[in-house]
Amino acid sequence: MGMFEAILLTIATAATPLLIAAMGELVVERSGVLNLGVEGMMIMGAVAGFGVAQLTGSAWLGMFAAILAGAAFSLLFGFLTLTLVTNQVATGLALTLLGLGASAMIGESFVGLPGVRMQSLNIPVLTGLPVVGKFLFGQDPIFYISILLTIGVTWFLFRTRAGLTLRAVGDNHASAHALGVPVVRVRYLAVMFGGACAGLAGAQLSLVYVPQWVENMTSGRGWIALALVVFASWRPWRILAGAYLFGAVTIGQLHAQALGIGIPSQFMSSLPYLATIVVLVLISRNKRLTLMNTPTSLGKPFVPDR
């Protein structure tokens, strides 16, 4: 395996959880809901995925458990903000805190146990292709899911009637409601999709990235995913670009450090954030297009009049 190929693989592993979590949050925000609980849902997914994989010995079951855990946890957020109409920002933050605490409690007995690793694909001939073989045909299943997810979300949002409805709800919930769209139901579904994605991202962490469980192992990745959604101006392919750019600069700066090029490591560590912000701001320069893609009702509470 050449160095270039190895770097590509490392970048993909680093970018995948960000991509999946951000893609879920994109759908949530497109429906007009701001869920700041991504970090909390992600860590719940991580602990559920690790735990179930540990108990059953199957990484796949762990992955499904993580998706369910993320979705179930997001329902709590949905109930509070959509049915009880609490403040979305405060509720989202609370969800993150709750997730970090609850996962630590659930995972207490998992600490110090080596986890179950999700196996990578191995297709004869194709995986062995030079340079791109392993990247295209030799990765873990969650990587392929993340790419399919990006394609699926794009198609859903911009090519289906349901996607149009979801965007309408996010742009103007009053009008959508007047047209007979079940606003709250659409948002519930979106929030659960977001939760499922965050859970899956968590499973990638505890089953692929670093197969182990430790408290707070997401280390802020949920927040990075949240920021990606905004900087990508709510567009799926830009999230993919942003996530991979972030991953590439993160890995690149580590390699630069190992080569000993002598730039202060504190600066190098902040580079991924800087680079991602700068690039995504630059590609979002078109004001009209950005406005068009911003869900206008984002974060606003909706109480259906009767």
Binding site: M3, A6, I7, T10, T13, A14, P17, G101, A104, M105, G107, E108, V111, G112, L113, P114, L205, Y209, V210, P211, Q212, V214, E215, N216, M217, S219, R221, T250, I251, L254, H255, Q257, A258, L259, G260, G262, P264, S265, Q266, M268, S269
Partner: protein
Amino acid sequence: MKKLLMALSMAASFAVAGAAHAEEKLKVGFIYIGPPGDFGWTYQHDQGRKEMEKALGDKVETTFLESVPEGADAERSIERLARAGNKLIFTTSFGYMDATIKVAQKFPNVKFEHATGYKTADNVAVYNSRFYEGRYVQGVIAAKMSKVGVAGYIGSFPIPEVVQGINSFMLGAQSVNPNFKVKVIWANAWFDPGKEADAAKALVDQGVDIITQHTDSTAPMQVAAERKIKAFGQASDMIKFGPETQLTAIVDNWGPYYIERAKAVIDGTWKTHNVFHGMHENLVVMAPYTNMPDDVKKLAEETQAKITSGELKPFTGPVKKQDGSEWLKAGETADDKTILGMNFYVAGVDDKLPQ
């Protein structure tokens, strides 16, 4: 939830103590920076607490507060432990230093023990660990085991404690192979499993065949296992994460010190001090030497024995700094003040120290 339970049990035990009174148990409190489940720094302190409970049985009663931030909360938490009747309180992170001193002034009858700091008082002692002694042994092993002659070192933050480790590792390695190289990556985090794994992968991709870390998670060990190279564990024995990978690990063994100090309070012989303990005092312990040929194992054991007996001090001249200037003359050893404030590399480290 756990904290709530702890607070309740503390309140309950306080009430019981007030009522019964006659019981002569020494109450010992601990303040932790992280959760005991971090499998690293705090985990080892908690192991020490448990050892103390085991050794002293019903003569002591321990309580801990976990994940206490190093700010205003620290002072409040330490004071809470003092008010709850704890007569000996261990504050186990550098950043608790000022809070410990402050609370100690209010409670002159309570003894305080602060880890890794430098401020003492009549009722505040300081204890520090010479982790770097273990790094020297690791360096010796690395130079023997590495085929390419380059090791990867994952650092957390460029503070003296970590720089000591890198230099000591380098000197140990150079004692075997003068041309040995170390590649350093700073993760700029104590704990971020993902990033630590990325750093480990980057080092492996650049050709190192041995990894050592000064960050807290087991992620680098896992990467090393996956890539079939060798690695050293950190803070606790990580052999479970790399049964065919771990060469040894530096284990922080706080138990004996905690037992000794609790006994001193019980016997009334406790005095303040500022100690810098290492292998000699059994504070720095090496996990079993595994996955290496017998001759390397023998050399490692000999090195460890020499450091333990004091015959070998890792920072002994002749040593040049990275810029080529002389640091220690032949036979000269570094004093503790220089070691505790170390902010430069020795010659041979392939990295520029971030200032």
